[in-house]
Symmetry: C2
Subunit: 207 residues, 2 copies
Amino acid sequence: MEQRLAPNTKLSEARLCETFGVGRMRVRRALLLLSSQGIIELQSNRGAYVACPDKSEANDVFAARMLIEPPLVRQLAQNPNDIDLALLTDHIALEDAAREKNERTEIIRLSGEFHTKLAQSTGNKFIFRMMRELVTRTSLIVGLFGSSENASCPDDEHSNILRAIRSQNPEMAEQLLISHLNHIQSGLVMKSRQEPQDDLAAILRSD
Amino acid sequence: MEQRLAPNTKLSEARLCETFGVGRMRVRRALLLLSSQGIIELQSNRGAYVACPDKSEANDVFAARMLIEPPLVRQLAQNPNDIDLALLTDHIALEDAAREKNERTEIIRLSGEFHTKLAQSTGNKFIFRMMRELVTRTSLIVGLFGSSENASCPDDEHSNILRAIRSQNPEMAEQLLISHLNHIQSGLVMKSRQEPQDDLAAILRSD
DNA sequence: TTGACAAAGATTGTTAACAATCGTGAACTG
DNA sequence: CAGTTCACGATTGTTAACAATCTTTGTCAA
């Protein structure tokens, strides 16, 4: 889970088998699950390929998050839970640490996880699962289209959102989150085709 | 897809194989997918069982829908699409027909599908998928806890919601949908354990 | 040189036999 | 008679060989 795979990378069963040292059945089951989560794409008789979201899909992801997350944080701010607030505070400390060390992939991962944990703190299994799926996809997108300096989430917006929740200010929390999502989205470089360098990356990695 | 299966019914691989006339691999793949959607539960070395949502899960489902659907219909009402409106109108005609014939399972199915089609008409793949999952789960719950007369969706609430959307009245559409979800939820009989008659049903059906 | 065609190689999809695990019931013991 | 243990049957999990499909490569002809 540390190393990121370039989109459109082909995942051959044989290689996954020997990489992870498991039978083909396990690999196929894992691939099926990943494809049901939209992380890879299974093409009949052709293999599994890492999903390669395009501009339109990216817009859909952010539209979906714009629909769900604002009411979510509003609700959290109306009824904050001390335990979850503590967990989120700890999490932000982790983010800051990663930011200091300039670990880009780790920053992306933790930035996503913050939003997942927000959803998790509702205690609602379904909200959590939906959010996790959207966050996973967002991470893919940021990894693809994110400009290198603005690595994903502008510095301390997470911490501001958390503060608004803690101070039980629903309107502010909601507004901060909306701006936050907008910042992330506007930080993306929406080149409509990014295949060349990805094919290259796939070739380099395929050995 | 017509006949409903009682929760906690065991789905043995062998029986599914001969029922659908297909190899064990296909069956296992289908079971894995169904379990990833939470429709069945896979127990290691013990088999697959139809999911049996309890009171707490039912609350979570409605909480999640309460979070998503109101903003969704509000958004639809702000920007209605003629084609989708026509499709939804047709759909309501189907619902009315089923209601006249008193086909309970069909009414439940179509009632759910209305909400799915609402989500679909956003054109957003992710919103659609989320909604479909929630609606599926809701159907399970209504089939389990729904009282027989109030079969799921009070008569013409769908039609009222659609009318509000068509007349581009976001507040009314949102409010109608909130009431609608509340009606459905309050129509449920929340017995915390419903095993006896389900076990019976499972036994009767197991042949 | 380029294009099409065909055969070989590689990869995925399927099947069937085998291994492991679990539930049940009979036998045994206290 | 109650409780425990063991063995058998049934069911799921795994493996390996086979079939089907796709990709590639080499050849031939225009």
